[in-house]
Amino acid sequence: MAISRRGFLKGVAGGGGLLLVSGVPFAHARMSKELPPQAVGLLYDATLCIGCKSCMVNCKAQNSVPGGALYKKGMKAPPYDSKGPRGDEGIWDAPQELSGKTLSIIKVYKNGTAETKDTAVNGYSFFKQQCLHCITPACASVCPAGAFRKDPVNGSVYYLAERCIGCRYCQLACPFGVPRYEWDSAWPEVRKCQLCRHRYADGKYAACAEFCPTGATIFGKVVDLRNEARYRLAQKPGTEYDFPIKTVDSTEISRRPIARYAGGTYGLVEAGGTQNIMLSGVSFELLGFRKNIPNSDLPELTWHYIRKILWVFAGVFAGGTSLYAFTHRQEKEESHD
C-alpha cells in the first residue's frame, strides 16, 4: 500500500495533536498520591479466616446483578468456573485461580504436616486474593482507552466495558496480577473486584465483608482499617480482643485471642499503598505475594516515559523534516536552473 507523503504528514500531525488535546493518559498518569477523602476498603486478617469461602460464593452472587462487576446484559445466574450436572450448573464451582468469573478467591498455604494454623513450618494458612484498589492504580494509568478509572470520592478502581479495547495492558501492568480476561467469551471484558461499588447506593457494602462469619474480612474507611490493623499488631499475641465482624465500626463482635502476626500490614506501602490491606500469621512472601513490588507508586514510572513521548514525536518530525530539507536542497537548486 502506498502512502502519499501528504497523507503521512497529516497522520503524524493529527496524531500528535490528538495526543495533546485528549490528554487522557496524562490526566491519569498524574493521579493523586493521597487517599481519596471517603476512601473505603477491606481489611483481611488471615488469622481469623477459616476457609469457608462464604466471601467467594456471595461475591459471585452479589456481583451478578445489574451494576455488579460480573454482570452482563441478560445474565440470570452467576458465572461459574466449572459446570455441574444439568439443572445444578455451577454447584461444583471450585475455582483454583482468579478468572473472568472469579473476582476474589481464598487459597491455602500448606507446609509439611500442615497441623497448626497460621504457622509457616508444619502449618497452614488461608489467604485471599482480589483487587487491592491501589491508591495510584497502575491499571488505570496504562489503559490507553481510559477504561479503568479510580473513583475520586471512595477510591474504588472500576472498569468501563464500553471504553475497553481489549488490549489487556492492565493485566501486564498490575503488580498483583489481578485483572483477568474473559477468554471464553465472544465479547470479552476485563474482570476484577470493584469493591461492590454498585451496592453503596442501597447502604450496603462489600459482599465479602457482609457474609464473612468470623470477621476475617471487614469493610470500612481506609483510615479506620489502618488503625485497626495497627492496633492488632501492637497487642501481645494471646490477648483477648473483640474482633469486629462485617464492618470496622460494627457492634457485632467476636471475642478471641489475638494471633501472632508475621511482619506488618500488607498494603500500606506496596505499589504506593492500597485501600485493601491484609494481616497474616505467615509472611506474605510464603503466601505467594511478590516481594519485588516497589514501594513507590507505579504510574509515576509510566509518567516518566510518557512525558518523553511527545518530544520523541517532535524530534522525529523535526529530524525528518530537516533531513528532507537537506537531501532535497540540490533538487530545489536544480529546478531553479
Binding site: C52, K53, A94, P95, V108, Y109, F126, P213, L286, G288
Partner: protein, 387 residues
C-alpha cells in the same frame, strides 16, 4: 453345656430371638465399637454367660432424659438385651419395686456383689450446703454416691450432667452441681456425655466391659474413644457445603431449606467430639440427629461448649485439615512452572507429531507410488493380454 444349650437357655429371656438375629446383633455392636468382627463371637459368649453383671443405676439431678433415650431405642430386642444382659438391680425409673422395698433391693445387691457391679449414674450431684438439694430416701446424692462408688467394679457417668454437671452446673449453678468425675476424683469414671447421650454408646461400653473385663480406651475426659474421638464437623453430612461456602444465613431461608451448612447459625460441630453423624440419634429414624433435621449442633457432649456458650454463637474451629481442593500459593512447588511444562510438552508433541506425520506421508507416498506402478503394470499386462 454346649454352646447351643447356652444360647437356648437365654433365648427365652431375649424374647424368643433367633440365633441368627442374636449373632447379627453381636456383630453389629462389635463393628459399632470399631472392633474386629471376630469380637462379635466373644460378645455373644459374654451375653449368654449366666453370670450377668449386676448394674446399679443411680439418678440424681436429672430430667430422666438419659433413661428415656435408652428406653426409646427400638433396635430389635434391645430392651430385652438391656434388661436381660445386665441384671438391673436398682433403677428409680425402671424398678418394679418402690419405696423401702427398692432401697432394700439396692442394699442387698451392693452387699452381694461388692466389687462386681457396674455403677451407672445420671444427673449431676449438688455439693452446696452439704448437698441438701437432692435427696433420695432421706440421703443426699453426695452421700449415696460416696457410699456406693467404692464397691463398684466400674463407674459410668451417663449424660452431660453426670459427666461434668451439664445443665444443672451452668451458671449461676445455685446448687453447686458437679459431675461424677469431679466428686470421685481418685477413680476412673467412664463419661458418656450428651443430652441425652446416645444409648448405643452406653450399651457398647457395657458390652465391652462384660466381654473383655476391662474398660474401653478413654480420652482425657473419660469418654470412650470409639465414640468421642472424632469431631462432628469432620464427619458431618453437611460438611461439603461448608467447604463450598454455602451457608444457611437464617432459619428457613433458601439455603437452609436446601440443606446447607449450619455453621453461621451457631453450629457447635466444629468444636464438639461425638459420633452423632455416624450413629445418628438413638433410633429415631433415618437422618435424625440435630444437624440432620436442620438445627445447629448444640455441643451437648463437649464440656465448655454445651450449656456454657450461647446457643447461636459462632463456634471456634478446633482442629481443621486444610482442604485439598483449594488453590495454593505455589501450586507446583518447587520446580518448573506449569506454563513452561505445558510449553515444553507441547513443543515436544509438535516435533514428534511432525516427525510422525512426515514419516507416514513419506512412506505412504512411496507405497502409493509402488502400488501405482504395480497397478499400472498389471493394467498394461492385462491390456497386452487383451491385445
Amino acid at each position: 453345656m454346649s454352646k447351643s444349650d447356652a444360647f437356648n437357655s437365654v433365648s427365652w429371656r431375649l424374647g424368643g430371638i433367633s440365633r441368627r438375629d442374636f449373632l447379627k446383633f453381636c456383630s453389629v455392636m462389635a463393628v459399632g465399637m470399631g472392633l474386629p468382627l471376630s469380637a462379635g463371637a466373644r460378645i455373644a459368649e459374654a451375653i449368654t454367660n449366666p453370670r450377668r453383671p449386676p448394674v446399679i443405676w443411680l439418678s440424681f439431678q436429672e430430667c430422666t432424659g438419659c433413661v428415656e433415650s435408652l428406653l426409646r431405642s427400638n433396635h430389635p430386642t434391645l430392651e430385652h438385651l438391656i434388661l436381660d444382659l445386665i441384671s438391673l438391680d436398682y433403677s428409680e425409673t425402671l424398678s418394679a419395686a418402690a419405696g423401702h422395698q427398692a432401697e432394700a433391693a439396692k442394699a442387698r445387691s451392693i452387699e452381694e456383689n461388692k466389687g462386681k457391679f457396674v455403677l451407672v449414674v445420671d444427673g449431676a450431684i449438688p455439693t452446696k450446703d452439704q448437698g441438701i438439694y437432692c435427696k433420695v430416701a432421706g440421703k443426699t446424692a453426695l452421700d449415696i454416691l460416696n457410699e456406693t462408688a467404692p464397691h463398684a467394679a466400674a463407674i459410668v457417668a451417663m449424660g452431660s450432667c453426670a459427666s461434668w454437671g451439664g445443665v444443672a452446673a451452668s451458671g449461676p449453678n445455685p446448687t453447686g452441681a458437679k459431675g461424677v468425675p469431679e466428686i470421685l476424683s481418685n477413680k476412673t469414671v467412664v463419661t458418656i456425655p450428651g443430652c441425652p447421650p446416645n444409648p448405643y454408646n452406653l450399651l457398647s461400653t457395657i458390652l465391652y466391659y462384660v466381654t473383655f473385663n476391662k474398660l474401653p480406651e478413654l480420652d482425657p475426659q473419660g469418654r470412650p474413644k470409639f465414640a468421642f474421638s472424632r469431631l462432628i464437623h469432620e464427619n458431618c453430612e453437611r460438611r461439603p457445603h461448608f467447604d463450598a461456602g454455602r451457608f444457611a444465613e437464617q432459619f428457613g431461608d433458601g439455603l437452609h431449606r436446601k440443606g446447607a451448612c449450619l455453621y453461621k447459625l451457631g453450629c457447635k460441630g466444629p468444636e464438639t467430639y461425638a459420633n452423632c453423624p455416624s450413629v445418628l440419634f438413638g433410633e429415631t429414624g433415618a437422618g435424625t440427629w440435630p444437624v440432620g433435621v436442620g438445627h445447629p449442633c448444640f455441643g451437648c457432649a463437649e464440656k465448655g461448649v454445651g450449656f456454657s456458650t450461647p446457643m447461636y454463637q459462632l463456634a471456634t474451629l478446633k482442629e481443621m485439615t486444610p482442604p485439598v481442593f483449594f488453590g495454593e500459593a505455589f501450586p507446583n512447588k518447587p520446580g518448573v512452572s506449569p506454563g513452561i511444562k505445558t510449553f515444553a510438552a507441547g513443543s515436544a508433541g509438535i516435533v514428534v507429531g511432525a516427525a510422525g506425520a512426515a514419516a507416514i506421508t513419506g512412506l505412504g507416498a512411496k507405497k502409493g507410488g509402488n502400488l501405482d506402478q504395480r497397478y499400472g503394470r498389471d493394467e498394461k499386462n492385462a491390456r497386452d493380454k487383451e491385445e
